[in-house]
């Protein structure tokens, strides 16, 4: 067969070389991203460059095998399925009806619609595997309402950007599935572990709204009026999303399906609902599928390139360098954990979350586990860190999504309105560090 091409000797990584290597990697990545090179291409080019500079042998030849084996992983088939599920729910009008129903119940609280935004995000998160989809869907429905009712616009937008992040914490979650694949952790356990922290975070977001409106009563907007019977009748609109949640998450624990299989069942249910609401014709199906595959292709290309980069990082020894470096600092396990949390909060400002997760988890998770922390618990902590990354400027995808849906004014409105919720995220992260049982208690009851 083929012979190995001889290359010039590469600089051998020692501790100094390791720091240099890490520095070079970050500089290349940030330059590519700042140049507005598509994220997937930036990851691929970074991988190829590091291979050329640091590897004495042709690592890039592994690319095809990696693309095939990762690209055909059954577990990752959950990604297009969840995207398809979300598109079907939005197009069948289920999201709009769900929002109106929640609005009738929560509209009279101080801060009114802003509580509805968070509750609707939490409920939609229970059917959606994605934070961006959650923010986009609830935002699409909510923003026209907020503009009618005179809320403090910035805080209102903040509830949508922050509430949307619940999408990856409350199961189902594409990111928890990918974390499970990367760390060989059980996805059903991760799902269970995400439920309480997800509800707690939603509660804290609502508390943030309540406190803000208590301090600044004018922010609260007009309160809605509705009769009790109207509200009771509106409850039926919560049935479809709860039904989808039962199918996509409940079926796993009822012994019907694995997480990916459950996503397929969810698509069937959403298809049924769309048909029931007479929103299923070839034109709509065609648009739905095209939208699904457009997003899937983009997300999968990032995943494939992130896996390729991960292979290179691991093969050139950067992974080991970083692990050794952290070990050499001689910190206590808890301090190490805090350093890692700080690391994620910082890179979360500058990186897109999916590639950030795939490029870092294979390095960080083994360190955390070797320190004696529970991988399931860390999975939940990581989701909180990714959620924070989704709303921290300058690169916070949810900020852009909400601004995109809003379609006017400046992005700074969304950024400022989201700041109180970033503080809330910090509180939540501290709570999870102080009280790991919040995540681990529920899975322990089942396993």
């Amino acid at each position: 067969m083929k012979s190995v091409t001889k290359r010039r000797a590469a600089p051998q990584p020692d501790s100094e070389g390791g720091a240099q290597m890490l520095f070079v990697t970050l500089i290349i990545l940030l330059s590519l991203v700042a140049l507005s090179i598509p994220v997937a291409a930036a990851l691929g080019i970074l991988g190829l460059t590091l291979d050329q500079v640091y590897a004495p042998f042709p690592l890039y030849r592994a690319a095809g095998e990696i693309f095939w084996s990762v690209g055909t992983d059954f577990i990752l088939a959950a990604i297009p399925m969840f995207i398809l599920l979300g598109e079907l729910l939005l197009r069948s009008g289920i999201s709009t009806r769900m929002y109106s129903s929640i609005e009738l119940w929560l509209g009279r609280m101080p801060g009114g619609l802003m509580h509805s935004n968070i509750a609707a995000s939490a409920l939609f998160a229970a059917t959606s595997g994605s934070s961006v989809a959650t923010a986009a869907t609830v935002g699409t429905v909510a923003i026209p309402e907020g503009q009618r009712n005179g809320y403090n616009e910035r805080l209102f937008l903040g509830t949508l950007a922050a509430g949307g992040t619940l999408g990856i914490l409350i199961p189902p979650s594409i990111n928890l599935i990918i974390y499970g694949v990367l760390t060989e952790t059980s996805v059903p356990q991760l799902y269970l572990a995400g439920i309480f922290p997800g509800l707690a975070l939603a509660g804290l977001f609502m508390a943030t709204v309540a406190i803000s409106c208590f301090l600044f009563p004018k922010w609260g907007g007009r309160t809605g009026q509705s009769g009790f019977m109207d509200r009771l009748r509106a409850l039926k609109h919560l049935v479809p999303p709860l039904g989808i949640f039962l199918i996509v998450v409940g079926s796993i624990y009822a012994g019907f399906a694995t997480p990916t299989e459950a996503a397929a069942l969810g698509v069937m249910a959403a298809l049924g609902l769309a048909a029931y609401h007479r929103r299923l014709n070839w034109q709509i199906l065609r648009e739905t599928l095209l939208g699904t595959m457009r997003t899937t292709a983009m997300v999968m290309l990032i995943i494939l390139m992130a896996y390729f980069l991960n292979f290179i990082l691991s093969a050139i020894g950067l992974t080991q360098q970083l692990t050794d470096f952290i070990a050499s600092m001689g910190l206590t396990p808890f301090t190490t954990l805090l350093v890692i949390v700080a690391f994620y909060l910082i890179i979360g400002c500058f990186m897109e979350t999916l590639s950030m997760m795939i490029a870092t988890v294979p390095i960080i998770a083994p360190i955390i586990i070797s320190l004696g922390y529970d991988p399931v618990w860390f999975g939940v902590l990581l989701m909180l860190l990714l959620e924070t990354a989704l709303i921290t400027p300058p690169i916070g995808v949810n900020l852009y999504v909400v601004q995109g849906v809003r379609g006017r004014g400046a992005i700074t409105d969304v950024i400022i309105g989201t700041l109180p919720f970033i503080a809330t995220m910090f509180v939540m992260i501290a709570l999870l560090l102080a009280w790991p049982g919040m995540a681990t208690w529920l899975p322990q009851q089942f396993y």
């Binding site: 994220v39 693309f67 088939a77 398809l84 899937t296």
Partner: protein
Amino acid sequence: MMKNIFLTFEKWTERLAEHAALAGGLLMLVCCFMVSAEILLRKLFNHSIGGADELTGYALGIATSWSFAYALACRANIRIDSLYMMLPLRFRGMVDLLALLAMGAVLVFATIFAIKVMNTTASFGSRANTPLQTPLIIPQALWVVGYVLSCLLLLSRIGRAATLLITGQTTQLHSLLAARTVEDEIRDETAGRPAAGQ
């Protein structure tokens, strides 16, 4: 003359890209049916056909690669535009061209190595290590088709961009390559398309 050739080529590759993505979407939809049927059979009749997961895995690979070209045509790939938006229009054009070439380089690289995987499989006559023993050349050949299609689309884009550049049509160049603006996003969001899978 040159311009017309590129226009026709572009029209055809774009149409092909959309059809391929639609086929990919239908393939995933079929997989949802297949997997659901498998679950029902297993639960109701304690009977398993087996292989639904394996076939869905191949379908994911194929559907994804068949949609790469469409995602490119829609300019759907995430670009971080914080600095980009601050640039004057003519510099944006250069950055856009750079982004296109970067994407092109990565996809051509991926295509070459996807073809190598397929060739190795063909020379070994590999069959899946599962009860189905699927001849792997079938899913891998279909998978490669998607990569090749994405290269064709890129080629048409680069060709068009080059002609626009030579003829000095900067406005058209911008609308061909620019990063998706907030306005583009709204159009998609209000049409009900969640933007990304994070």
